[in-house]
Every structure is written in structure tokens, then in C-alpha cells.
């Protein structure tokens, strides 16, 4: 049996970040991915013949530039696409409102709807940028662990505080006020136009089952603005070759430092002896020993399926059971034989194309989810990657990938195994598209709907939750994934977590992977120091 320093369970982008970081420190690393392609939620697969389709995540705007630079991802083929259009909101009847990366263009566009809002937008963009920057400081550092920190660590905590304080003490306090607000309240304070507010509020929706009136949704707006410049909307950047190319670049970087990356190698169990992880067993029966195991899977899958509840205490298990894993998103992939008949379609549809005409529309969509049913009039977030990388599909073809909200994993009546539910959801989406993007339906050549249940079975996301745990104040910082266990360690010695379920959270951020690697290396150094001393 081959001995590794560490086995990383799962080949999602966070797991690959951790693997690459550890490999850089000369660790002997093995990454095991169950499917044939790397990336997990951030993967690109041939869903339609000859087409590379981003399976779930579309946008990598939250992926930090410094991390990409550190790992030399550009050398491993990472290339960004930042189309001029950030987002286009379809407000019905073929009308559209587009936000551009160019502020002047955005101002003019909004002015067609509302002059006051147009005048305020630049201030809003500044405000959002500043708030996001303060929040980013918290996300870039390990979560505080109030009770088990040494004095040195407590002092280290001052660093982000000082850093944030430098951005303005008032700003920090303002962030404390804004973060728990409903997105609706925040936006009502700024804008009048329903269309604009709906559009901006849509950035608050992913990662939770709540609508824009729920407290804490403003925080998710800020969270989604913590990557590259949000321009008043959200951090948005696409990857040439599909989002899977980011994962591929990460894997290449890891391999370049000697890590082994295996696909189609599903980990069935994490081996535990005397309360310590000793390796993994694959579905094939193969066992691999390692000095530590790092899991990129979501916490509940890691603890209940891979480790097993019996290895853990009942009190801990209760906490694992209480993690809010609430997939509410379905993904609909459409193969198109052309763009829908919208003026400047190729330009306007290159960013996010949204059906989020008003706050109430989004709220009503969320209401359905509250009672355990899919939205009758869902909110849609469509990306057409073929507009910034035509090589992703055969000539003349386009792929549109739509995130459909809300499609709750837990249905009050029946389950997603019922075709009736899938058909209804599909019909609802197409009906909404007919209203907002007339003519699109005629362009559809093929389609593939992934319900939250499909996301669970295909990507291993418990509850279909692509964020590995709802993003809300109650599951952030030292509360993520489980209060008291926010430092990547687990009750099983030698088992660590590095997935989106950990601080700072979900999305294609690389944050958990990076911080987990940091924590592991720091822990190892401490051990080394202690042993040297004795």
C-alpha cells in the first residue's frame, strides 16, 4: 500500500486549491475525484454532443486574482473572459435593462428607466465596493475561534481588525448594520426603479432559500461582490474554455508540484482507527493509507457517509444534522441553434441574463419554496458561455445554462423522482422565457434539466446544496460549518475539511481551500516546533 502525506477526497475547485498549496510545500498529495471530470460544481462536461457545458457554476468572479497568481494558473492555461455586459434583466415583453462594466454606459441605460436611480448608481457601486472590501478582509482570514485561541492567535485576530479599521471604522460599523438587513430594505434606501432593484437583489438569492425580504439577504449581495470589481452588481468573470478550465488549471498546478490527481476514483469510506483517520477506501475496494485525509465533500456527506455517524458522538452528530443544507436551485441547459431575437443579443446576453423584474417577483418565487414547491414563476439566471468562447459548441450552436430558482430539494408533495415535477418545472421555465425572451423557445435544439436531486446524485451535493451549507449569518465565520469546528479540523484526528461548507463559504472562491491549506500547514509547523522543543 502506497503511503501519502495526504489524500484529498473530491476534485472540486477547493480541494484542488488545497492540494496545489500542499504540493507546493512538498507534501505527497493524492486527489481522488469520483467522476471523470474534475471540478465538481465547477466542472465542464459534454452534456450535449460536441459541446462543453458548465455543469452547475458559471461565474468565477469570486476567485481571487492573488490566488490565481500564486498558483501560476495563467501558465496552466487559465484565461478570463470579462464581457462588457455584466447583466441584462429581461423585464417582460422583450424589454431589457443592461448593466455594463463601463459606468457611463450603465448610467445612460438606467436613465432610460429612472433618472434619479441613474444618478445614484455610481455612489451605490462605490458603496458596494467598499462594503465588500471590508467583508473581504473577514473572508481572507481564518474564522476566529473564540475559545480555543492562544494569545498569539488572538493578537493575530487584530490584524484583520486593523486592516478593516483602516478602511474606516464607520464603514465597519455600517457593515454590521447592513449585513443583517434584507436586500429589499437596502435597495429601497437607494433606488426607486423596481426593475433595477429586482436585478440587484437577484445577487442575494443564490446560496439560500430566502427571498429578498429576508434578513441577511443583503449580506449575500455583499458576499457575491467580494471578488473582482462588482461595478454595482456582483463580481463576475467567466473562464475561457468553461469553468472546468479553472479546475483543470488548478489540477495542472498541483500536478506540476508532484501531486497525483486521479479521476473516476470514488472514495467510499474514510478509514478511522482509534479516533484518527488513516486513509480512505475506494468504491473499487482499494485502500489508500495517508497521514491525513482532507475532505472537499460537504460536511454532512463527509461525516455521515464517509466517516459514519458511529465514529462521532451523538451531540456532534446533532450539530451535523442541523447544518442547513438546502438546495433550491435547478439547472437547465439548453442547446440553441441561434440567439433569441433581441436587439444587440450577442452583446447584451454575454453576461448574466436575468429574469428578476421586481423585488416582489423574486419574493413570490421564494414564497413557493417556503411551502416546499417549485416556483410557479421562477427567477432565472442565464449564462451563454458560447458568447465569450465560441469553441465551446459547434459552429452556429449556442449553449445557454440557466440557474432556476426556486426549486427546493425537499418537496412538500412527492419528490424530484416524479417526472411530473420535472415536467412542471421545465414548463414553468419555458413559459417565463416565452414572456421575457420571445422566440427563444424556437431556437431550442436539446435540453437537459438538473434538479437539486440530480445535483445531489451527480455531484455528491447533500440536499443539492451547491454551497455546502446555506450562506447566512447563522452559518458564517466561526459558525461554519459547525460552531466550534470552523478551523478545518474535525473530531476525527487527521481528518480535515476544505470544501465550501467551511469558512468563508460557497461559490467559486477558492477561499476554503486556501485557508484550509494554511491551517494544515500552520498546524504541522506547530507540531514540528513542539516536537523539536521536547
Amino acid at each position: 500500500m502506497k503511503q501519502y502525506d495526504t489524500v484529498v477526497v473530491g476534485g472540486g475547485h477547493n480541494a484542488l486549491v488545497t492540494a496545489a498549496r500542499l504540493a507546493c510545500e512538498r507534501w505527497k498529495v493524492l486527489v481522488l475525484e469520483r467522476s471523470a471530470v474534475l471540478g465538481g460544481t465547477a466542472s465542464t462536461a459534454e452534456i450535449f454532443p460536441g459541446c462543453a457545458v458548465n455543469v452547475a457554476a458559471q461565474d468565477a468572479g469570486l476567485f481571487p486574482a492573488d490566488l490565481a497568481a500564486d498558483l501560476g494558473l495563467a501558465a496552466h492555461g487559465l484565461e478570463w473572459a470579462r464581457p462588457p455586459a455584466l447583466a441584462t434583466s429581461l423585464t417582460g415583453g422583450g424589454e431589457a435593462l443592461t448593466l455594463w462594466r463601463d459606468p457611463a454606459r450603465t448610467r445612460d441605460e438606467i436613465a432610460r428607466h429612472n433618472r434619479t436611480d441613474a444618478a445614484r448608481f455610481a455612489d451605490w457601486a462605490d458603496h458596494l465596493r467598499t462594503m465588500a472590501r471590508v467583508l473581504r478582509v473577514a473572508l481572507d482570514h481564518p474564522a476566529p475561534a473564540p475559545h480555543d485561541m492562544t494569545t498569539r492567535e488572538r493578537l493575530r485576530l487584530l490584524r484583520p481588525l486593523i486592516q478593516a479599521g483602516r478602511l474606516g471604522k464607520r464603514t465597519v460599523v455600517e457593515l454590521l448594520r447592513v449585513a443583517p438587513l434584507p436586500a429589499r430594505d437596502l435597495l429601497d434606501d437607494w433606488f426607486e426603479s423596481d426593475a433595477l432593484k429586482g436585478m440587484l437583489a437577484s445577487t442575494a438569492l443564490s446560496g439560500s432559500r430566502h427571498g429578498p425580504s429576508a434578513m441577511g439577504s443583503a449580506l449575500r449581495m455583499l458576499y457575491h461582490a467580494t471578488g473582482c470589481d462588482p461595478h454595482g452588481f456582483r463580481s463576475s468573470a467567466f473562464v475561457k474554455g468553461g469553468i472546468g478550465a479553472l479546475s483543470a488549471a488548478l489540477a495542472a498546478a498541483a500536478r506540476a508540484h508532484g501531486a497525483e490527481v486521479r479521476t473516476e476514483a470514488e472514495v467510499e469510506r474514510i478509514l478511522v482507527e482509534d479516533g484518527a483517520a488513516t486513509g480512505v477506501a475506494l468504491a473499487s475496494g482499494e485502500e489508500i493509507a495517508a497521514r491525513c485525509v482532507i475532505s472537499g465533500a460537504d460536511p454532512r456527506r463527509t461525516f455521515f457517509r464517509l466517516v459514519g455517524a458511529l465514529r462521532l458522538g451523538p451531540e456532534f452528530n446533532r450539530k451535523v444534522g442541523n447544518i442547513q443544507l438546502r438546495g433550491t436551485t435547478a439547472v437547465l441547459h439548453l442547446l440553441l441553434d441561434g440567439l433569441p431575437p433581441l436587439a444587440d443579443a450577442a452583446e447584451r446576453l454575454a453576461g448574466h441574463t436575468l429574469v428578476a423584474p421586481s423585488l416582489d417577483y423574486l419574493e413570490r418565487a421564494a414564497d413557493d419554496a417556503k411551502y416546499g414547491r417549485a416556483s410557479a414563476r421562477p427567477h432565472l439566471d442565464m449564462v451563454i458561455p458560447t458568447l465569450h468562447d465560441p469553441t465551446l459548441a459547434p459552429a452556429g450552436r449556442h449553449v445557454a445554462s440557466i440557474q432556476v430558482r426556486y426549486a427546493p430539494y425537499h418537496l412538500r408533495e412527492g419528490s424530484w423522482q416524479d417526472d411530473a415535477h420535472r415536467d412542471t418545472l421545465l414548463a414553468n421555465v419555458l413559459a417565463v422565457l416565452d414572456d421575457c425572451l420571445p422566440g427563444l423557445r424556437d431556437r431550442i435544439v436539446d435540453q437537459r434539466l438538473l434538479t437539486p436531486l440530480d445535483l445531489e446524485t451527480e455531484l455528491g451535493l447533500t440536499g443539492g446544496d451547491e454551497y455546502h451549507g446555506q450562506m447566512g449569518l447563522d452559518q458564517m465565520l466561526f459558525m461554519r460549518p459547525i460552531a466550534g469546528w470552523a478551523r478545518y479540523a474535525t473530531p476525527v484526528k487527521g481528518l480535515l475539511l476544505c470544501g465550501s461548507g467551511c469558512h468563508p463559504g460557497g461559490g467559486v472562491t477558492g477561499g476554503p481551500g486556501r485557508l484550509a491549506a494554511g491551517a494544515i500547514l500552520r498546524g504541522r509547523k506547530q507540531v514540528a516546533r513542539l516536537t523539536k522543543r521536547s
Binding site: P146, H147, K169, R170, V172, V173, E174, L176, R177, V178, P180, L181, P182, D185, D189, H210, S213, A214, M215, G216, R318, N322, Q324, D360, E363, D367, K370, Y371, G472, L473, D474, F478, M479, A483, G484
Partner: protein
């Protein structure tokens, strides 16, 4: 003729009166000015219908700080708080959930739905005890300002850090969860029975414009749990004589300490000269002078109505404009010819002396919220009922009863029509909802008073009819209440203070804002608060 006082308190609600009493006890010459002919603000008892006494607005007492009761010697001034021990939740199918002080009986009652929940209920109670104990500390301190970071603020913040780090890890985690999660998610971690979860989380929506599944509501749940009577947390009480008796007792204590209290004396504005206050002008044109003026009115009135915007920094004005009131509740007070007969618990019984909660399921509460979210009152509202006459016979003639129904949601802003048009329709909805559980109700109603958020605003002056002088959400708590940078009871106008529920620690018949603000005033005047311990 201008009379000169040491301090003037605007508003004779319970916080204004507590504030005045503490100032008077410290030897200040204090005058309280109340707009209405009777004292109490939202804490009043009125005989709207002859011989029947309604606690028109607020109706139960649990948060009243024991230290205030002791220091102001309120029992001597007529305060008597009677226990309210049980909660009955009727269910649409004729069943019910009944919880009271008999631990084993409550256990068995919950066990009818789920034994697991009956067991978890004890643990839940203990957890909330820990939480109430942890936040009790906060109720007694003025919030520091983390943005100013003066020496006192740093001391305050370090003190807080020490306080919270001294908690057991599990307790700190639970507290953070409580401050951030939704009432429904919070109770979900313990229970599986819908009616139990709904009734427990219902206290998380009171006074807010949020549904039980919205984050932030768990804190409100705790806010209602941290009341303390005779050393026990979570003991609900009913003031003998209605909540007006609380105001009267405090007023009596204030008068005994030398305060002057004037009713029918609406204040038009605070007089500000060169950035400092020197008195108030009444609506009738009279001017009263004082170096200290404290407003117990809500932040909107305190900052936007009583003083000129020019006297205030622009960021404060815009922050107060963004401060959220959003009245979401109404009251229906009924005079009844006989005792209400609940179909789920027929006849007279101890349940009449407790609370009755119309909260059969979380979805029920959410649907009630949904109606309000889109600008209508709930077609099937959440109702919290007490029958004061069953606890205190003096509230109604013998054999007859008054019934107080707190109703949510009733949004201040209606999408269609006005509250003046919809008042009776709202009352009918409440009676219809109640009559489903109380078959004899329609036959025994002698009189009905419907109080909409608009009526609350008109009568008590509470902006948008919000009973807490602003929502109790994390964005508006502690050093953010009412707004960041102005949470320490002072205002940018020297000598002008805030002492109402719009300041820390917030609403409910608690009196803490009034007392803490008095401590601030007295400290600023460099004077000890007289007898009793020093204010913080």
C-alpha cells in the same frame, strides 16, 4: 411665563416616567410633558366601554426590570404583577397544545405529539435560560460605540468581550446563532411538532415585519424570553389593573420623588440654540426651559419632528430616515358578556388565566406574513390572546370578561385602501378567526375596539404604529439602536437626550432605556443618582 426646570422629559410613557423618576430621585427638578390626558403612552388602561377596562395597546408585562421595580419601590405605588402561566394553542382539527407550569403535565401534553419533543422541551428551556442569563448583562449597560473608540467605549467593548468569552463555548455559539438565525430554524434544531414550533417561534415575530422563517426573528424570541419575575426568566405577568397600572405606579413614584407631571401638554418642538437645548415649546405656544431635555418619543419624532434638521448632522438625519418602524400589529379588544368557551378546552378552567395563541403551524404564520408582505392584513392572522378579567376580576363586571387580542400581521401601509376603510373588516377577520375556536364568541361580544397600526400611531404617536419604537432586528440593536454613533442616549444637540424604546435595549414594558438614559444624563451632570446604586 417661562418656568425653568433642571430637566424636561418629553412623553409620559413608561420609559419617560422611569427616566423622570430616576432624575427626580437624584434631586433634579423634573417635568414630564404628556400629550394625552392620561399617562402611559402605549401602556394605558382605558374604559372605552363602560365598566370594561381595556389594556388598549400593550397587554402583558414580563420584561420590566426587577431593579427598577425595587429601586422605585413600585409595589408601594400600586404595582402588582400577577403570573400568567399557561399557553393554549388551539388547532384547526379540534385538538390543542396546552402548556403550563405543571412540568409533568406539559411533558405529557407535548408527548402526545412527540416524546422526543417533550424531552427536548426541557433542554430547550435550559438553553434559553443560559441565553437569557448571558444577555441579561447587556440590559444593564449603555452600549459602547465601536466607531468612536473613546476610553469608555474601549472599556465597554473589552468588558463585553470578556463577558462573552466567559460563556461556555456551546452557549456562546448558541447565542450567536440566536442573534442571526430565524425563529423557525432555531426551534427546528430541537423539535419536530409543528404546533409547538409555531407557538414557540411566534414570540419571534411579535412587533416585527418578518416571518418566522426569516433570519433575525430568533433574537426577538429571546427578547421575549429574557423577562424576569422573581428571579425566574420567562415568567409572563399581567399587571393588576391592566398595563396602565404600571404607568400609574411609575408616575406615582416619580411624583413622590418630586417630579412634576403635566398631561394635555403636547410638545411642539425642542428649543435649540447654538447647538444646545434650552427647553421646549408646547403646542399652545408656552415655553418651558431646562438645561436637559430628554425625549422618550421614537427616533423619528425625537430627531425629525422635535428639532430642526439643520441642528443635526446630515448622516444622522439620513440614518434616522432609514431606521425601520414598519408597524405590523394591531389589537382587538373585546368586552364579553360571558367567558369564552374554547372548543378544544371547553368550560372554565385555568387556561383562561393564561395566554391563548392562534399559531397552529409555521406555515400558518408564514402565510399570515405573506399577506402583509404584499400590503394586506393577514386573512388568517396570528393572534395572541389574554383574558385580563380572568386574572384580575376588577377589569370587568362580575361574570363578564374583557379579552385582549394582539394581532399580526397588520401592515401600516396597505396596498389598497386605508385603515380607516378597512378597520372593521380587519376586526371581522379577527373575530372570524377566533370564532373558529370559540363557538360562543359572536353571541357574547358586547363591544369591540379595533386598533390598527394607524390608530396606534394617531393615539400614542408611535411612528407607523410600531410597538417597539422601531423593529428589534440585529441592524437596530445595541450600538446600532437607534443608529450607529448615536446609541449612547446622547444626541448631537447638547443637553438633548433620548430615553425611549428606540434606544438600547429596546421595546416592551422594560423601563431599561429610561433608566440607562437617566444614568447617562446624571453622569453628564456629574452628579450621582442619589439613593440606591450608581447608574452606569
Amino acid at each position: 411665563m417661562a418656568r425653568k426646570y433642571d430637566a424636561i422629559v418629553i412623553g409620559g410613557g413608561h420609559n419617560g416616567l422611569v427616566h423622570a423618576a430616576y432624575l427626580a430621585r437624584a434631586g433634579l427638578d423634573v417635568c414630564v410633558l404628556e400629550r394625552r390626558p392620561l399617562l402611559g403612552g402605549a401602556t394605558v388602561t382605558e374604559e372605552i366601554f363602560p365598566s370594561f377596562r381595556y389594556s388598549v395597546f400593550s397587554y402583558v408585562v414580563s420584561l420590566m426590570r426587577p431593579d427598577i421595580i425595587r429601586e422605585l419601590d413600585l409595589p408601594r405605588h400600586g404595582l402588582a404583577i400577577l403570573p400568567l402561566e399557561s399557553t393554549l394553542t388551539p388547532l384547526p382539527n379540534g385538538d390543542r397544545l396546552y402548556r403550563d407550569a405543571d412540568h409533568h403535565r406539559t411533558w405529557r401534553e407535548i408527548a402526545r405529539f412527540s416524546i422526543r419533543d417533550a424531552e427536548a422541551y426541557d433542554e430547550y428551556g435550559r438553553s434559553l435560560f443560559y441565553m437569557a442569563r448571558a444577555v441579561k448583562h447587556l440590559l444593564g449597560i449603555a452600549p459602547p460605540d465601536p466607531a468612536r473608540l473613546g476610553p469608555g467605549d474601549i472599556r465597554g467593548l473589552l468588558g463585553l468581550a470578556r463577558h462573552f468569552l466567559n460563556l461556555e463555548p456551546d452557549q456562546l455559539h448558541l447565542l450567536v446563532k440566536l442573534m442571526t438565525t430565524s425563529a423557525a430554524d432555531f426551534v427546528d434544531e430541537w423539535f419536530e411538532t409543528d404546533v409547538l414550533k409555531a407557538t414557540l417561534s411566534a414570540s419571534g415575530i411579535i412587533g416585527t415585519f418578518l416571518g418566522p422563517r426569516s433570519p433575525g426573528t430568533a433574537y426577538v424570541l429571546l427578547h421575549h424570553y429574557m423577562g424576569e419575575i422573581d428571579g425566574h426568566f420567562r415568567a409572563w405577568g399581567f399587571a393588576k389593573g391592566g398595563t396602565g397600572a404600571v404607568a400609574n405606579a411609575i408616575a406615582s413614584a416619580a411624583r413622590a420623588a418630586g417630579a412634576e407631571i403635566r398631561t394635555d401638554a403636547p410638545v411642539a418642538r425642542a428649543l435649540v440654540k447654538n447647538g444646545r437645548v434650552n427647553g421646549v415649546a408646547l403646542a399652545n405656544g408656552d415655553e418651558l426651559h431646562a438645561k436637559v431635555v430628554s425625549s422618550s418619543l421614537d427616533p423619528h419624532r425625537t430627531f425629525l419632528d422635535l428639532v430642526d434638521e439643520d441642528a443635526l448632522p446630515a448622516d444622522l438625519v439620513s440614518a434616522v430616515r432609514a431606521y425601520r418602524f414598519r408597524g405590523s400589529s394591531g389589537k382587538v379588544n373585546l368586552a364579553l358578556d360571558a367567558a369564552p368557551d374554547f372548543s378544544c378546552m371547553p368550560g372554565h378552567g385555568p387556561h383562561l388565566r393564561g395566554a391563548v395563541s392562534i399559531s397552529p403551524s409555521i406555515d400558518y404564520l408564514e402565510r399570515a406574513y405573506d399577506d402583509a408582505k404584499y400590503g394586506d392584513f393577514s386573512r388568517e392572522p396570528y393572534i395572541d390572546i389574554v383574558i385580563p378579567s380572568a386574572i384580575d376580576p376588577a377589569m370587568a363586571p362580575p361574570g363578564k370578561h374583557v379579552m385582549s387580542c394582539f394581532v399580526q400581521y397588520a401592515p401600516y401601509e396597505l396596498r389598497d385602501g386605508t385603515w380607516d376603510e378597512k378597520r372593521e373588516a380587519f376586526g371581522d377577520t379577527v373575530v372570524d378567526t377566533l370564532a373558529r375556536h370559540i363557538p360562543n364568541l359572536r353571541d357574547i361580544i358586547l363591544h369591540r375596539q379595533v386598533v390598527t397600526p394607524l390608530d396606534i400611531e394617531r393615539t400614542t404617536g408611535l411612528t407607523q404604529g410600531n410597538i417597539f419604537q422601531g423593529e428589534l432586528t440585529p441592524s437596530q440593536l445595541f450600538f446600532l439602536r437607534p443608529v450607529a454613533g448615536h446609541a449612547g442616549y446622547r444626541t448631537p444637540v447638547r443637553g438633548y437626550y433620548q430615553c425611549g424604546s428606540g434606544t438600547h435595549p429596546g421595546g416592551g414594558i422594560m423601563g431599561a432605556p429610561g433608566k440607562l438614559a437617566a444614568g447617562r444624563v446624571l453622569a453628564d451632570l456629574r452628579r450621582g443618582p442619589g439613593r440606591g446604586r450608581r447608574g452606569k
